[in-house]
């Protein structure tokens, strides 16, 4: 059994969707944990779901980064635990400095709620094993999803293979039209250097069964059942 913790901050709204999606994967058991009394000991992976933690006040994820849950998440990540942040979870991981860059207002200034495609650029993470070069179709729903970084950080992230997801068209071409928010280099998701912490703007939990119009998200979360138990540091470093 892979034990997955799903973090809940005040304002998180995708934790039950993740719990449901993960219940479709054999070999995974989940627990929703409240950020203030968060102990990730005994878990193999942690999910930081989407929502509007702390009302997105100040900046999306800015207040959540100070929570005891985020402190525990940092300890867990440092020990090599697998961490996935989606949407607001990605924003929190960037604000906390667990992932490079930042997420700012969409270039269009519009909240985008749509189906998009991403190409998987790296399989050196616990969530994308065996998926490199695959194009997945997933939903997005965000107003602040434009990933930005200074030119040195962007170059370092590209060179180290930390770009995990890139917005493309259905054929896998990273065109400007396929970029829903103006993100630098069409970047939809990145990892830390070790590869055990991953963030993305799309919602894999909202496309894990045919009833919801797509199953590509299942291919990401199902990888967790194969994730190494306990500390993954040796594998992903």
């Amino acid at each position: 059994m892979t034990r997955v913790a799903i973090l809940r901050y005040p304002g998180t709204w995708s934790e039950r969707d993740f719990q449901h999606a993960l219940s479709l994967v054999e070999g995974i058991e989940t627990e929703i944990v409240w950020h203030a009394e968060c102990d990730l000991g005994g878990f193999d992976a942690a999910i930081v779901p989407g929502g509007f933690s702390y009302g997105d006040y100040l900046r999306a994820g800015a207040i959540a980064k100070l929570s005891p849950g985020t402190k525990e998440l940092r300890r867990f990540a440092d020990e090599g635990g697998a961490v996935l942040g989606s949407c607001n979870g990605f924003q929190i991981l960037c604000e906390a400095g667990l992932l490079p860059g930042a997420l700012v207002r969409n270039a269009s200034l519009e909240y985008r709620c749509d189906w998009i495609h991403v190409r998987i650029e790296s399989d050196r993470t616990p969530f994308t094993t065996g998926l490199r070069r695959q194009v997945l179709r997933m939903p997005i729903g965000h107003g602040e999803g434009r990933w930005v970084a200074d030119p040195d950080t962007l170059a370092a992230v590209e060179a180290a293979g930390q770009v995990v997801f890139r917005y493309t068209d259905a054929a896998g071409a990273a065109t400007a039209d396929a970029n829903p928010n103006g993100a630098l280099a069409n970047i939809a998701g990145v990892s830390n250097r070790a590869g055990n912490v991953v963030g993305l703007m799309p919602h894999p939990e909202r496309c894990a069964e045919a009833l919801l119009g797509g199953t590509d998200g299942y291919r990401i979360i199902a990888n967790l059942a194969k994730a190494p138990h306990g500390t993954a540091a040796a594998v992903y470093r």
Binding site: L58, R59, L66, G101, V104, D150, T153
Partner: protein, 89 residues
């Protein structure tokens, strides 16, 4: 200790595109204003007690570094002003 108000002015770094500023530019041009550029930011006012103006400025800068601005995308400036309150009058 005297009371101070720190005015923390936060703006997107020059290399970060500011679509809100671009939208405002367009709106101002539609009113006939000849606009070269518009950049938006935010102002945060923090009131607190400190030993003196220098201590207040240092503390406000720490608030900027720790929380109020994200150094990846924003820069900030601090102005500090002493205020008279009833308790301190």
């Amino acid at each position: 200790m005297p009371r101070f108000v720190a005015r923390v002015l936060i703006r997107p770094k020059a290399e970060i595109r500011d679509p809100q500023g671009e939208a405002i530019s367009g709106a101002l041009r539609s009113l006939g204003h000849e606009i070269a550029d518009v950049r938006t930011g935010k102002e945060i006012l923090v009131s607190f007690d400190a030993a003196d103006e220098r201590a207040a400025r240092d503390e406000a800068a720490r608030m900027g570094d720790e929380l109020l601005a994200n150094p990846v995308i924003e820069s900030y400036a601090v102005e500090v002003e002493a205020v008279r309150t009833e308790a301190h009058a």
